[in-house]
C-alpha cells in the first residue's frame, strides 16, 4: 500500500488509474499504453495521407485516389507491399545495430507519446520534470539515426551519419534554450503545468514569438523535415541512412517519418498553443489534435515549397541565426515578459 502510494505520488498517476488495487493500476496503464499507441499510429498514418494529398495538390497532382475513399488506404497498401518483400540486411552491415535502430526509434517515439498530456488527466505519467525528460529522449533520436546509418556499411549512409552528427551542433542548443524560456515562463517543468499556466495568461506563442519561430525551425531539423532533411537527402545520397534499409524496416521508417512529424506538432502545440485548451464545444483531446494537425499542415507546406540546405549552410544558419535568436528570446523572457507581462 505504501509502495503504491509512493509510486502514485512519484509518477502522479491520473485519478482514473489510481485504483487502490495495484493489479488494476498495472492493467490500467497497459490498456492506456495500447490505446494511446494505436491512436498515435492512426494519427501518424492519417498525417502521412495528409502529406501525400497536400503535396500532390501543390504539384497539380491528385495524390492517392484509388485505394479506399480518397486514397485513404494507399499507405496501408504500401505497408502491406513492403511487409511482403524480402528483408535484406547487407553483408557488411552490423546486423544487431542495423536491426535494432529503427525499432528503438519507434520505442522512443511511443515513450514520448506516453509522457505527453492530451487533456487534464489523460497522460500515462505526469512527471514533475516531464519537459526535460521528453527533450532528453528526443535528443537520443539523432543518435539512433547515426547508428542506423553507420551500421549499414554503405558509403552514402556513412556520409549521412557524418551529416547527422554535424547537424546536431546547429539545432540542439536552440531547442533547449527555447525550452528553458518556456519553463521559466510557466514556472514549471511539468508538461500539464505548462498547459495549465497558459490558460491563466496567453498562449506562449503570443508571449514568445521569437521562441516559437526558432523552435519550429529547429524541430524541422530535429525531425528531418525539409529544408533540413540532409540525412536522407534523396537527390544526393539516394536515401542517406535508409539506403540499405528494406522491406519491414523501410515500412517502419516511412511510418516514423510521418509519426515523428505529428509528434513534433503535438509538442509545439503543447508548448506554445495551449495544448488541450480551447472553447468547450469540443472535448480537450480534440483541440490538441486539431492544433497539431494545423501545425503539421504548415510543416508539409514547407516541405512542398522549399529546397534542401547544404550542411555547411545549416551549421552557419544555426550559429548565426538560431542560437543568437534563442538567446535573445531567453533574455526577453527574463527581462521583459516575466516581470511585466505575466
Amino acid at each position: 500500500m505504501n509502495l503504491q502510494n509512493d509510486l502514485a505520488n512519484l509518477l502522479n498517476i491520473p485519478y482514473w488509474m489510481s485504483s487502490t488495487n495495484i493489479i488494476h493500476n498495472i492493467v490500467g496503464i497497459i490498456i492506456y499504453i495500447i490505446v494511446i499507441s494505436i491512436a498515435f499510429s492512426i494519427f501518424g498514418y492519417m498525417v502521412g495521407w495528409l502529406e501525400r494529398k497536400l503535396i500532390a495538390r501543390a504539384q497539380y497532382r491528385h495524390g492517392p485516389t484509388y485505394v479506399g475513399m480518397w486514397g485513404l488506404l494507399q499507405n496501408m497498401a504500401d505497408l502491406i507491399k513492403l511487409l511482403s518483400k524480402e528483408d535484406v540486411i547487407p553483408e557488411n552491415a552490423d546486423r544487431m545495430l542495423f536491426a535494432a535502430s529503427l525499432p528503438l526509434l519507434l520505442a522512443l517515439s511511443i515513450f514520448i507519446v506516453l509522457l505527453l498530456p492530451y487533456s487534464p488527466g489523460l497522460q500515462a505519467a505526469n512527471l514533475g520534470f516531464g519537459l526535460l525528460i521528453v527533450f532528453t529522449i528526443i535528443s537520443f533520436m539523432p543518435l539512433l539515426l547515426f547508428t542506423a546509418a553507420f551500421s549499414s556499411g554503405n558509403k552514402f549512409a556513412d556520409i549521412s551519419a557524418q551529416r547527422s552528427v554535424l547537424i546536431l551542433l546547429s539545432y540542439e542548443l536552440p531547442i533547449l534554450l527555447v525550452v528553458v524560456s518556456v519553463a521559466a515562463l510557466s514556472g514549471s517543468y511539468n508538461l500539464a503545468g505548462i498547459v495549465a499556466s497558459q490558460s491563466s495568461s496567453h498562449y506562449f506563442a503570443l508571449l514568445l514569438p521569437i521562441g516559437l519561430v526558432v523552435f519550429f525551425i529547429a524541430m524541422l531539423a530535429e525531425f528531418e523535415r525539409p529544408p533540413f532533411d540532409l540525412r536522407e537527402a534523396d537527390s544526393e545520397l539516394i536515401a542517406g541512412w535508409l539506403t540499405d534499409v528494406s522491406a519491414p524496416y523501410y515500412a517502419l521508417a516511412l511510418f516514423l517519418d510521418y509519426a515523428r512529424m505529428f509528434l513534433g506538432s503535438i509538442i509545439i502545440s503543447i508548448l506554445f498553443f495551449g495544448g488541450w485548451l480551447g472553447p468547450s464545444i469540443l472535448p480537450p483531446f480534440a483541440w490538441i489534435i486539431i492544433k497539431a494537425l494545423i501545425i503539421s499542415v504548415f510543416i508539409i507546406i514547407v516541405r512542398a515549397t522549399t529546397f534542401r540546405m547544404r550542411i555547411d549552410r545549416v551549421l552557419r544558419f544555426g550559429w548565426v541565426w538560431l542560437i543568437p535568436l534563442s538567446l535573445l528570446n531567453l533574455i526577453i523572457t527574463y527581462i521583459v515578459i516575466i516581470p511585466f507581462v505575466k
Binding site: 503535396i55 501543390a58 504539384q59 497539380y60 497532382r61 558509403k155 552514402f156 556513412d158 556520409i159 557524418q162 525539409p226 529544408p227 532533411d229 540532409l230 537527402a233 534523396d234 537527390s235 544526393e236 539516394i238 516541405r303 512542398a304 515549397t305 522549399t306 529546397f307 534542401r308 540546405m309 547544404r310 550542411i311 555547411d312 549552410r313
Partner: protein, 364 residues
C-alpha cells in the same frame, strides 16, 4: 584527410540518365569527378552508314529525347546542304517556330529537374512539366506526335501547320510570358535556392573557351556566342534574334540564361508567327531513291537547346559514307571535373543539373 571514393550512378536518383560518376571526396569536398559514359551507346554514327538518307532521321531523334526535333532538323539540314536543296521561305519560318517551341520545352524540363537536383520534392518539377506539356500539345498539333516527330522533309516539312495553330500558339505564348516571371519570383526570392546556386561551379570566360563548352553553359560565362546569330540560319536574322549572356559563369547564371532564352524563344515564336508568309511548306516525299548529293562533304552547325551541334557528312549516292556528330552534351559533360572540384558533394548535382546533359546525346 583520407579520400573516400564514391560511386554515383549508373542507378542514382539524380544522374539524368545512365551516367556513372566516380567521385573522390575529402570529407564533404570533391577532389575529383570522373564521368564514365557509354551506357546508352547505340552506334548511331555507324548505323547511319548503312541506311538510306531519309531512313536516318528517326535515329537522330533518339539522340536527344528531350528535344528530338532539333537533332532531326540538324541532320535534315545536312542532307539538304549535301544535295543542294533550297528550303522554301514558309518552311523556314515554320521550322524556326517549331524549333523554338522545342527549345522552350527542353529548357522547361531542365529547369524542373534542376530544382529536383538541389533538393526540392518535385514541386517546381511538376510545374515545369505542366507548362512543358502545353508546349508539347502545340507540337502535337503541328506534327501529330508528342515525343518523336520525324516531321522534317528535304526542302520543307511533312505537312503544313493546321489552320488554328497560330491562334493556339499565340495564346500559349501569352500564358508562358505571364508564367515565367512566376518561376523567377518563386525561385529567386527563395534564399536557399540562391545560396545553393550563386558562386557554385564557376567557369570563367577563358576557361569556358578552353573547355569548349557551348550553349547556355558558354553564354552564362560571358561569351556571347550563339550559332543562331554567328551563323544565322533560316530566318533568325530577320526576326532580330539577340543571344542572352551573363557574366558570372556559376550555376545561377546558367539557370538564368535558360530562363532568358525561354523568354527570347517566346518572343521569336510570336514574331515568326506574325511574319509567317504564304507559300508551300511541304518538302519532298520520302521515296526509295533520294536525289544524288552534289557536295561530297557538308558541314552544318546548329544551336540545339543543349549547345552547339555540328554534323559532318561525307556523302555517297543514296547513303552517307560517314556521318560524324559533335554532340553538345558530350563536350559540356567533360567540364564537370573542372566545375565540381573543390565544391561540396551536395552541389555536384546542382552542377550536373545546370549542365543539362542528355545521356542519349552524350553516348550517341
Amino acid at each position: 584527410m583520407t579520400v573516400t571514393r564514391i560511386n554515383v550512378g549508373p542507378v542514382h536518383p539524380s544522374t539524368h540518365g545512365v551516367i556513372r560518376l566516380v567521385v573522390d571526396l575529402e570529407g564533404d569536398t570533391i577532389v575529383n569527378v570522373e564521368p564514365h559514359i557509354g551506357f546508352l551507346h547505340r552506334g548511331v554514327e555507324k548505323l547511319a552508314e548503312s541506311r538510306m538518307y531519309m531512313q536516318i532521321p528517326p535515329y537522330m531523334e533518339k539522340l536527344d529525347y528531350v528535344a528530338p526535333m532539333s537533332y532531326n532538323e540538324a541532320y535534315v539540314a545536312t542532307v539538304e546542304t549535301a544535295m543542294g536543296i533550297q528550303v522554301s521561305e514558309r518552311s523556314q519560318y515554320i521550322r524556326v517556330i517549331l524549333l523554338e517551341l522545342q527549345r522552350i520545352a527542353s529548357h522547361l524540363l531542365s529547369l524542373g529537374t534542376l530544382c529536383n537536383d538541389i533538393g526540392q520534392t518535385f514541386t517546381a518539377f511538376m510545374w515545369a512539366f505542366k507548362d512543358r506539356d502545353i508546349v508539347l500539345d502545340l507540337l502535337q498539333e503541328a506534327t501529330g506526335s508528342r515525343m518523336f516527330y520525324v516531321n522534317m522533309r528535304l526542302g520543307g516539312l511533312r505537312e503544313d501547320l493546321p489552320a488554328d495553330f497560330s491562334e493556339h500558339t499565340l495564346n500559349t505564348m501569352d500564358y508562358l510570358e505571364k508564367r515565367i516571371p512566376e518561376y523567377v519570383a518563386y525561385l529567386e526570392k527563395n534564399p536557399i535556392f540562391t545560396e545553393r546556386m550563386k558562386g557554385i561551379g564557376v567557369i570563367t570566360r577563358d576557361e569556358a573557351k578552353q573547355l569548349g563548352v557551348t550553349g547556355p553553359v558558354l553564354r552564362a560565362s560571358g561569351v556571347n556566342y550563339d550559332v543562331r546569330r554567328s551563323n544565322a540560319y533560316y530566318v533568325y536574322s530577320k526576326l532580330h534574334f539577340t543571344p542572352k549572356s551573363l557574366q558570372d559563369g556559376d550555376n545561377f547564371s546558367r539557370y538564368k540564361v535558360r530562363i532568358l532564352e525561354i523568354q527570347e524563344s517566346v518572343r521569336l515564336v510570336k514574331s515568326a508567327l506574325k511574319a509567317l508568309p504564304e507559300g508551300n511548306a511541304k518538302g519532298m516525299q520520302v521515296k526509295l531513291r533520294s536525289p544524288n548529293p552534289v557536295n561530297r562533304i557538308s558541314v552544318v552547325n546548329r544551336e540545339l537547346p543543349k549547345g552547339e551541334c555540328m554534323m559532318y557528312m561525307v556523302a555517297d549516292p543514296q547513303k552517307p559514307y560517314r556521318l560524324s556528330i559533335r554532340s553538345p552534351s558530350f563536350i559540356n559533360l567533360a567540364a564537370i571535373n573542372h566545375m565540381a572540384k573543390g565544391e561540396r558533394f551536395a552541389d555536384l548535382f546542382g552542377i550536373l543539373g545546370t549542365l543539362d546533359i542528355i545521356m542519349g546525346c552524350v553516348d550517341r
